[in-house]
C-alpha cells in the first residue's frame, strides 16, 4: 500500500507533465485519490516536480479543501455563512453531528464521513446549504440533515443524494444539481438570447485596437467590485512588452452573499468564454484560464464540455473561425477553498501552483502577471458584458445606467427577504427599490457588496447602486431590525480571520485583536473607550494591510459603529478600583479549577 501511494502520486504528477506550476491540479488529484495529501505523497510530488516537501506542504496547508491528515471518504461541508445561520444552520449542524455521533470537525471512527463547516458556498438564496464532496445540497432542515446522513451511511455516494434537479442548466446531464438559479429579473446584457460565435465574428472583423476602443467607449468597468475600467486594463496589457500574454477569468466569487457568477457560469458559459476569446484577440493572447472556485466544482464537467464544444465549432483552439494564426484556448483551473484567491494577484499565485498569497504591486498584472507575463484578470460578469457589447455596440451599452457607471449589474440578494435570488438591474437603482423588489420586511441593515464593502442603515436607502455611491461586486444581504449589527460584524470578522493569508502583520494579528474587542462589547463588558479603540484599530488595519482583504475586513465594524447606538453593550456598573471590563471572579476561575478550591476573596 505504501509503495502504492508513491506510485499513484508519481503517475498523477506525470499526467500534469511534472510541471511545478500545476501543483494545484496535482494536489487536488492526490487529495481526491487518497482523501489527503500525506507527507509521503508530498515527498513524492516534490521529487517529481523538483521542489521540496515543505514547499508542497506550504501549498497543501493553505487551501481548506486540501489536507495533510486523512479525511473521510465523504466530507460534508456545512455552509456557516451568516445567512445560513439566520436560516437555521445551528440546528442542522447539531442534528447531523448527533446522527453521526461526532462533533464538528471530526471524522467517524470508521473513516467514512467527515463533518465540517465552510464559509459561503454561493448558495445564500437557498440556505442552509452544504457541500457533500462536490455535490450541493440546499434548503437543509434538521430532519433533512439526519436523513442525508442515514442515506450516506448506506451508500457513501454523494451523487445519490440528488433526488431532484434545479432549473435551467442545473438539469443538464453533466450538472444534475439540486441548485436553483432563482433568476428573478432578467436584463438585456446577460439573460437575453446569445448565439455562440456571433460576438466573436464581429470582433475579428475589427482590428484588436478597435475592439479595445469599443470596450473603452462602452465605459465598461470591472464587475468584481473594484470597478477598474476594463478597456484601460486591456490596453495596458496589449501595450506591455512580452512574448506571451494571458487572459484570466476570475470565477472565484467568494464574497459572502455572492452567487451571481454561479448563475452566469451555469446559464451563460458560452457568452463568458466568447468574452475571453475576444479579450485574447484584443490583447494578443492565445491562452485563457478560468479560475473556478472549488465550491463550484460540480459545474466543472459541464464547463469542460462547453470548452470542447467551442473547440469543435472553431471558436476555440487553433485557427479560430478559420483565420490562419488566430489561436486561443482555455483551461479551467480549479481552486480549493480560499477566499483570498478572488484577489487577482492571489488568483495568479494559485494558478502558478503557489499558496494563494497576494503579490506585491507594482508591477500590476497587465504589466507582469501570470508567470511574469502581461495578464488581464476579469470577472465572469465583466467578460459576459464584453460579448454583449460586441453584439449590440458600445453606445447601446453606455445608454444604460448612469454616466459614470454604464450597463447593468447582476446582483445576488439574500438574507431577510421573501424573494432572494439573482436580479439583473440597471445601475442607478436605489437600495429602497431593492428592498421592495425582494419583499424584505422591516429591513434594518443592508450590506452592499458583502462584508468587504459597506454596511448601511435605514437612513441610506435612497443611495444608488453605482461605483460613485453604493459600489458593489454583486452581494446584497438584507438584515431585519431585530438583528444586532455588532454580532453581524463579529461573524464576518471570524470569516476574515479564517480567510486571511497571514502574510502581513496588521491583517494576521490585528483582525484577531479587533474581534476580541468587538466580542467584549457584545459580551456586555465594554466601555466607551472600547468603541474608540475599535475605530482606531479598524483604521489602522485598513491603512496598513497589504492587500484588499485586510483593507476591507474592518468595514462591517466601522459600519456598525457608524449606524448604531452600541451603548447597550457597555458594562452597567463599575466597581471602584477595577478596570470596567475586568471580571475578577472570571479571571481566577482557571486557577481555582486547578487548585481545586474557591477563592474566599472574590
Amino acid at each position: 500500500m505504501k509503495q502504492g501511494t508513491a506510485q499513484v502520486t508519481a503517475e498523477i504528477c506525470k499526467k500534469f507533465g511534472n510541471d511545478r506550476t500545476r501543483l494545484m491540479d496535482i494536489a487536488i488529484a492526490v487529495q481526491d485519490r487518497f482523501g489527503c495529501v500525506s507527507h509521503e505523497a508530498m515527498e513524492e510530488i516534490a521529487r517529481q516536480v523538483r521542489s521540496h516537501r515543505v514547499e508542497v506542504e506550504s501549498l497543501v496547508s493553505f487551501y481548506a479543501f486540501l489536507s495533510v491528515k486523512p479525511q473521510g471518504k465523504v466530507v460534508i461541508r456545512l455552509c456557516s455563512d451568516i445567512v445560513d445561520w439566520m436560516k437555521g444552520y445551528k440546528d442542522v449542524a447539531e442534528a447531523m453531528a448527533r446522527e453521526l455521533g461526532i462533533t464538528m470537525g471530526e471524522t467517524t471512527p470508521d473513516g467514512a464521513i467527515t463533518l465540517t463547516h465552510t464559509p459561503c458556498i454561493g448558495m445564500s438564496d437557498q440556505a442552509p446549504a452544504a457541500l457533500v464532496n462536490s455535490v450541493v445540497v440546499t434548503h437543509l432542515t434538521p430532519e433533512r440533515g439526519r436523513q442525508l446522513v442515514r442515506d450516506l451511511r448506506r451508500h457513501l455516494d454523494p451523487q445519490q443524494l440528488v433526488t431532484m434537479v434545479g432549473d435551467g442548466n442545473n438539469e443538464h446531464p453533466l450538472v444534475r444539481a439540486m441548485v436553483r438559479n432563482n433568476i428573478r429579473m432578467r436584463g438585456p446584457v446577460h439573460f437575453a438570447d446569445f448565439e455562440p460565435g456571433s460576438a466573436l465574428r464581429k470582433a475579428v472583423e475589427m482590428t484588436p485596437a478597435d475592439v479595445i476602443r469599443t470596450i473603452k467607449d462602452s465605459r465598461l468597468r470591472g464587475r468584481g467590485g473594484a470597478g477598474f475600467p476594463a478597456g484601460l486594463k486591456w490596453e495596458m496589457a496589449a501595450n506591455a512588452p512580452g512574448e506571451k500574454r494571458y487572459v484570466l477569468c476570475n470565477a472565484d466569487e467568494g464574497e459572502p452573499g455572492t452567487f451571481k457568477d454561479r448563475v452566469l457560469l451555469t446559464e451563460c458559459a458560452d457568452q463568458l468564454m466568447e468574452g475571453m476569446t475576444i479579450a485574447g484577440y484584443a490583447v494578443g493572447s492565445d491562452t485563457g484560464i478560468i479560475y473556478l472556485r472549488g465550491e463550484y466544482r460540480y459545474l466543472l464537467p459541464y464547463l469542460q464540455s462547453v470548452v470542447e464544444g467551442r473547440r469543435r465549432q472553431g471558436y476555440l483552439g487553433r485557427d479560430i473561425l478559420g483565420r490562419k494564426g488566430l489561436h486561443f484556448d482555455i483551461r479551467i483551473q480549479l481552486g480549493a477553498g480560499a477566499y483570498i484567491c478572488g484577489e487577482e494577484t492571489a488568483l495568479i499565485s494559485s494558478c502558478e501552483g503557489l499558496r494563494g498569497d497576494p503579490k506585491n504591486r507594482p508591477p500590476f498584472p497587465p504589466q507582469e502577471g501570470y508567470l511574469g507575463c502581461p495578464t488581464i484578470v476579469n470577472n465572469v460578469e465583466t467578460l459576459c458584458c464584453v460579448s454583449r457589447i460586441l453584439l449590440e455596440g458600445s453606445d447601446w451599452f453606455a445608454s444604460m445606467g448612469s454616466s459614470r457607471t454604464t450597463g447593468t449589474k447582476v446582483l445576488s440578494i439574500s438574507g431577510d427577504c421573501r424573494k432572494p435570488g439573482v436580479y439583473e438591474v440597471p445601475f442607478g437603482i436605489t437600495a429602497r427599490e431593492l428592498i421592495e423588489m425582494t419583499e424584505a420586511e422591516n429591513a434594518g441593515t443592508m450590506l452592499i457588496g458583502g462584508p468587504c464593502r459597506q454596511m448601511i442603515g435605514p437612513d441610506r436607502l435612497e443611495g444608488r447602486i453605482c461605483y460613485d455611491d453604493l459600489a458593489t461586486g454583486g452581494a446584497i444581504i438584507i438584515f431585519n431590525r431585530a438583528r444586532n449589527r455588532l454580532e453581524i460584524a463579529e461573524h464576518y470578522l471570524d470569516f476574515f480571520i479564517e480567510e486571511s493569508c497571514g502574510y502581513c502583520t496588521p491583517c494576521r494579528v490585528g483582525l484577531t485583536l479587533l474581534k476580541n474587542q468587538v466580542h467584549k462589547v457584545i459580551d456586555g463588558a465594554g466601555e466607551p473607550a472600547d468603541l474608540v479603540e475599535m475605530r482606531d484599530l479598524s483604521n489602522f488595519i485598513i491603512n496598513t494591510s497589504r492587500c484588499g482583504l485586510g483593507q476591507a475586513a474592518p468595514n462591517p465594524v466601522l459600519g456598525a459603529l457608524e449606524i448604531g447606538d452600541l451603548s447597550s453593550g457597555f458594562v452597567a456598573e463599575r466597581k471602584p478600583g477595577l478596570l470596567p471590563g475586568f471580571d475578577l471572579s472570571k479571571a481566577v476561575i482557571d486557577a481555582e479549577l486547578r487548585v481545586g478550591r474557591q477563592s474566599k476573596y472574590v
Binding site: 506550504s58 483570498i340 499558496r355 497571514g502 496588521p506 491603512n543 494591510s545
Partner: protein, 234 residues
C-alpha cells in the same frame, strides 16, 4: 536619466531609478524602521513596519520603488503610532520573554520597541501554544519567538541555495515549517545565512547565547538605526 530626486519628510533625497524607498533612504542616512527587510534579500513587504506615506498613500518602503518628485512621509505622528502598533502586535502574537532570552540586546524586535518607547504592549497577549525544535545538534528553532518575517525562508533559498524553511497554514495559524519532520532532518548547517539573519531569538545557534555579556550587546549601546543615521550626519 538614471537618477531620481524625491523628498522624505521634506529632506531632498537622490536615488537610483528602480531603487526601493527603503534602500534610497538608507543610502541617504534616513532611518525607516523595518523587520522583514534585510540587506540584499528580496524584500517581501510582510511586516509593514516600514510603512510610509508616498504621495499620501501608505506603502511599504521596502517594496515600493522611488519615483521622481515623490513626497514621502516617514516620521509623522500617525506613522509612528502605526509602527508601534505593529511591533506591539508582534509581541502579543508570540511568547516573548526578553528578560531571559539569549537574543536580548541583539534582538531587532526588542530594539525597535526601545526605540519607539514601548514599555508594555497596548494589546492583550494572545498566549499561543507553540513548539520548540531542539533536534538539530547546533541550531534550535523556538516558534514562540518567531515573528514570521520570512528572512530565513529567503536566505535559505537565495543565499544558501537550499530550501529549509517555508510557511505553512494561513491566517493566525500561519507558521514556519522545516523541510522534514524536524530541523535535524534538514540539510541546515549552523553556518547557514538562514540562521544568522533571524532578527529575533527564533533561530539560534546553540551554546553561544551568553558569549557577549548583557550591557555590552549591540543595542545596549546604540539604538537600532543609529548606523544608518550616522551616515546622514556626515
Amino acid at each position: 536619466m538614471n537618477r531620481v530626486t524625491f523628498t522624505i519628510d521634506g529632506k531632498e533625497v537622490k536615488a537610483i531609478r528602480g531603487q526601493t524607498i527603503l534602500k534610497a533612504a538608507d543610502a541617504a542616512g534616513v532611518f525607516i524602521p523595518r523587520l522583514c527587510a534585510y540587506r540584499d534579500l528580496t524584500p517581501n513587504g510582510s511586516c509593514r513596519v516600514c510603512s510610509v506615506r508616498v504621495n499620501g498613500r501608505i506603502q511599504a518602503a521596502c517594496v515600493q520603488t522611488v519615483a521622481e518628485g515623490a513626497i514621502v512621509e516617514n516620521e509623522t505622528p500617525e506613522l509612528l503610532e502605526y509602527r508601534r502598533n505593529i511591533v506591539d502586535m508582534l509581541f502579543v502574537e508570540g511568547n516573548h520573554f526578553c528578560m531571559f532570552c539569549e537574543k536580548s540586546g541583539f534582538c531587532e524586535l526588542q530594539a525597535l520597541a526601545y526605540r519607539f518607547g514601548i514599555k508594555a504592549p497596548r494589546y492583550p497577549f494572545l498566549y499561543p501554544k507553540r513548539d520548540l525544535d531542539m533536534s538539530h545538534p547546533h541550531v534550535f528553532l523556538d516558534h514562540n519567538r518567531c515573528i514570521l518575517c520570512g528572512r530565513c525562508v529567503r536566505a535559505s533559498q537565495d543565499m544558501d541555495g537550499k530550501n529549509v524553511f517555508q510557511f505553512v497554514e494561513r491566517g493566525g495559524r500561519k507558521r514556519l515549517q522545516v523541510n522534514g519532520d524536524s530541523l535535524s532532518e534538514t540539510d541546515l548547517k549552523a553556518t547557514d545565512e538562514a540562521v544568522s539573519v533571524c532578527p529575533v531569538g527564533a533561530l539560534m545557534k546553540k551554546r553561544v547565547g551568553y558569549e557577549v555579556p548583557v550591557g555590552r550587546r549591540r543595542y545596549d549601546e546604540k539604538p537600532i538605526g543609529d548606523d544608518i543615521e550616522m551616515k546622514g550626519e556626515k
